[in-house]
Symmetry: C2
Subunit: 173 residues, 2 copies
DNA sequence: CGTGAAATATGTATCGT
DNA sequence: ACGATACATATTTCACG
């Protein structure tokens, strides 16, 4: 009972095709993931299409889920969250209920910007935004120490972010 | 001979003020970091301003560096990069030249989506996008094993991304 | 997919508070 | 200094070939 669009346009697929995106689609995506403030006119010109044709493709790319969303990226520093920490969490028991509870908790905390499971230790890796060290310590105590089913955790303070891109490789690199 | 706006509007600052953003600015940022496809008209209505006044604020927020950029977020899965890996790298000698060379190398590799230095071990943490396990192994051999000055590295395969937001906390949480 | 026209949004100027 | 109204310009978007 799936309802989402199963694939992108009626291009050749199901043949083990690697991608259903043609060169123009890739150029559109390349531009938009760098800067989506450009007008559709400008974009159309850059990719060699008329504005309506370009717009149709962008909309198709959206509804197909290739473009998941379009957002403004804000400066954490200016907004008072200059600190970034990588935390690793180990649960007591990796059972379904405990995992789900933990993930739901992380989902609702704005300071947790990333939460993922990694192979090997049945661990979570978190990226956490904080105002300062005290603010982080507060978070660690409130959320990590007291959270149900947490066995242990480690924190690593990020000294410098050298690269943090939202871009996904497009060309067959 | 400065030309860029030295600070954000002529609000009260230099008084050790924590922030120069008022409630309306925060509402603008809140909307735009969730979805920047809304028109300025719609945004203006939502924040209770006239379209020109709203536009002026958005532009000011941009040139002040509060909004750093506006981008389309693409689906790594659809684009053929479903795999995410966290790598930790330890350099032989944490000298200036080696660090800079490594950071420059990471900056130019599209598959490296994040690169940061963490306290404690003078280490790097990388987040790497790959097509599959073989593709990552290839990367690890070419980039991590053979990179000059690398002492050791570990890789952790991300099984599931539960949360990955580009949003920064706005309200005084 | 392109062209042309209608609908809509953006951007500017000016005035008022 | 900031916002609102009104007007001009530009872009988005629809219908059609």
């Amino acid at each position: 009972m799936r309802k989402a669009p199963p694939d992108f346009r009626n291009r050749k697929r199901a043949e083990g095709q690697e991608s259903v995106l043609d060169a123009i689609d890739r150029r559109i995506l390349d531009r938009l993931q760098r800067d989506s403030t450009i007008s559709n006119q400008e974009l159309a010109e850059q990719v060699g299409l008329s504005p309506p044709a370009c717009l149709k493709r962008v909309r198709a790319l959206r509804s197909a889920g290739v473009i998941t969303r379009t957002v403004a990226i804000l400066s954490p520093e200016v907004l008072g969250y200059p600190m970034l920490t990588v935390a690793r969490v180990k649960l007591e028991l990796p059972n379904e209920a405990a995992n789900h509870a933990f993930e739901a908790r992380m989902a609702e905390l704005p300071r947790v910007v990333q939460c993922m499971t990694v192979a090997g230790d049945f661990d979570y890796i978190l990226l956490i935004r904080s105002r300062d060290v005290g603010h982080y310590q507060d978070f660690a105590r409130r959320v990590l120490k007291l959270a149900p089913g947490i066995r242990s955790y480690t924190s690593e303070i990020v000294l410098q972010v050298h690269k943090a891109t939202t871009e996904v490789p497009i060309d067959p690199t």
